[in-house]
């Protein structure tokens, strides 16, 4: 339900200069990974534009796209993976023009319980094996003989999430996951589950780990050159954790941006402040020139 479109049909307000007071609403849904980033961004923005209401939800990337690509859909969809071809096709069919905003970089992080003192560093292959049905790793001792002979409990975000799709498609190369993996809708549920289960291992965006370092440990991953801990530095584009790094996006409905000045204004604001907010919320920043290009593209929409 996005009745907000009607709220602003009078729309005349925001056409002028940037200093002008804007009003109306901005509706954002999509990635849970990007949610902390976007929530903070929205909050900051509303501090400056008091009459604009930005609401942020976190249904997950894929679920978000289905709400974004609809009549009267959302204004932005956050995504932790790029838009898919079939989603593009859907947009075209509906006549929605979509602008991709790459907002930050995230590192796929594998977290374990604080009491887990064996799996603190694993090789890239070991991690994949843990999650692959074909590898048949039931117990930690199956991964390495000196690990305890206890059952591995795998957790992750469910299929609504870009994070799941990134892991499944880009890292596991679409091979089947173990059947008993516990997939959840909410990231905080995952944090909670892992923090209370000694044999747990889960994957999600770095940001969720960064705000829970007191509850979880991150697995250092050996990509061939020794174990690397994920951090804002290592997940950067040329960092040592780069194999598990992915860009995160927000997709803008350009039609809405043209109709509603507050939507466009918010898009520009997001890009201009992306790196600052990224740092606060556990993402790696983007190169300045990349941001500049996006901002220019947005300014052209006016």
């Amino acid at each position: 339900g996005n009745g907000n479109a009607n709220e602003n049909t009078d729309g005349g307000n925001g056409e002028g200069a940037e200093t002008e007071e804007l009003e109306g609403s901005v509706v954002i849904d999509g990635s849970g990974t990007v949610y902390p980033f976007m929530a903070r961004m929205a909050e900051n923005y509303m501090g400056e534009q008091e009459n604009v209401s930005v609401e942020v939800s976190r249904a997950g990337t894929s679920a978000g796209f289905s709400k974004f690509l609809a009549e009267d859909g959302t204004d932005f969809n956050n995504a932790s993976r790029p838009i898919k071809d079939e989603e593009k096709a859907k947009a075209e069919e509906l006549g929605i023009e979509v602008q991709e905003l790459k907002v930050a970089l995230d590192g796929l992080t594998f977290v374990i319980n604080k009491e887990n003192d064996w799996a603190t560093d694993l090789t890239e292959q070991e991690i994949k094996d843990i999650f692959l049905a074909s590898a048949g790793k039931k117990k930690w001792s199956d991964v390495r003989p000196d690990f305890p002979a206890e059952e591995i409990k795998t957790y992750g975000p469910n299929e609504n999430h870009g994070t799941y799709e990134f892991f499944f498609e880009n890292i596991l190369e679409e091979q089947q996951l173990v059947d008993d993996i516990n997939l959840q809708q909410d990231y905080s549920t995952l944090v909670d589950l892992v923090s209370k289960d000694k044999n747990a291992i889960a994957f999600f965006g770095y940001g969720y780990y960064a705000s829970n370092t007191d509850k979880l440990s991150a697995v250092k991953v050996d990509f061939g050159n020794g174990p690397v801990a994920p951090s804002v530095d290592t997940i950067a584009e040329d960092g040592d954790y780069a194999p598990f790094t992915r860009p995160v996006f927000s997709y803008l409905n350009v039609n809405h941006a043209k109709e509603k000045p507050q939507v466009l204004d918010y898009a520009i604001y997001t890009m201009e402040n992306a790196n600052a907010v990224a740092e606060e919320t556990g993402f790696a920043p983007l190169p300045e020139e990349e941001i500049k290009t996006t901002v220019d593209a947005l300014n052209n929409l006016k």
Binding site: G1, N4, A39, S53, D214
Partner: protein, 294 residues
Amino acid sequence: MKHVNVEQVQKKMGSRLFANTFAKTLFLLATLFGLVVLVVLIYRVIQDGAAWINFDFLTNKLSTDPERAGIMGAILGTLWLMAVVAPVTMVLGVGTAIYLEEYAKKGRIQSIIQTNISNLAGVPSVVFGLLGLTVFARGMELGNVVLAGGLTMALLVLPVVVVSSQEAIRAVPQFLREASFGMGATKWQTVKNVVLPASLPGILTGTILALSRAIGETAPLVVLGIPALLIPLPDSIFDKFTILPVQIYYWTLDSALVAEYTNLAAATILILLIVLFVMNSVAILIRNKFQKRY
């Protein structure tokens, strides 16, 4: 021949009396169990939340930063919701009660409506949420605004108001109606001038209890799709909104993300419990003050 042996009876007496005392203790403990749970629950909530309640917490807008987060939005949302639920349920509930008690002929239609109301009272609240989502939010294209939420909640608590209003109307003695009819008053005049004023305290009590049920319900509004982060304050029934229980829900869900959210949730629970306690006390006061005047 004697079948009942006095000595044997006496021998058994001891164990029977012990069983009685034992059972009595057990029953008392069972009764106190509820009390204990209540105490623990409230103690826990106070422990987690009391320290977080202050003026800023009550008056600030929502924020992702626990130090700055406040529940003004949820408080206003709750008030706006009541502003829809109260008149709608009053009109529907009291109207239905008047119809059933004063106008309907005892028969099929009346018993169908009556049965329907008691069944409606047993329909899970999520189902009402779906009704609201389908009919008000999507069907009528209201979106997830106060009006849609309020109408959903109004239907949800309607049976409470109907039943308590019926009881209140039934408690108005017949002789008052006769007195009015005897003056040449019409039925509606009698209902309006005699029956309703006399049953008003009962109706109000029921309505307040229904309202307190409405502002404590979470599921229907979650189904309706209240955004996780909604900072602006609602200022009309066409605005998006959140209410105290929904805020508690999201903070509990996100407590793994930011640990302090547990405290915010607890603090909000305290506020909600206080509001409910006040509302119920008012209801009881009204009931006691105006009870049995004839």
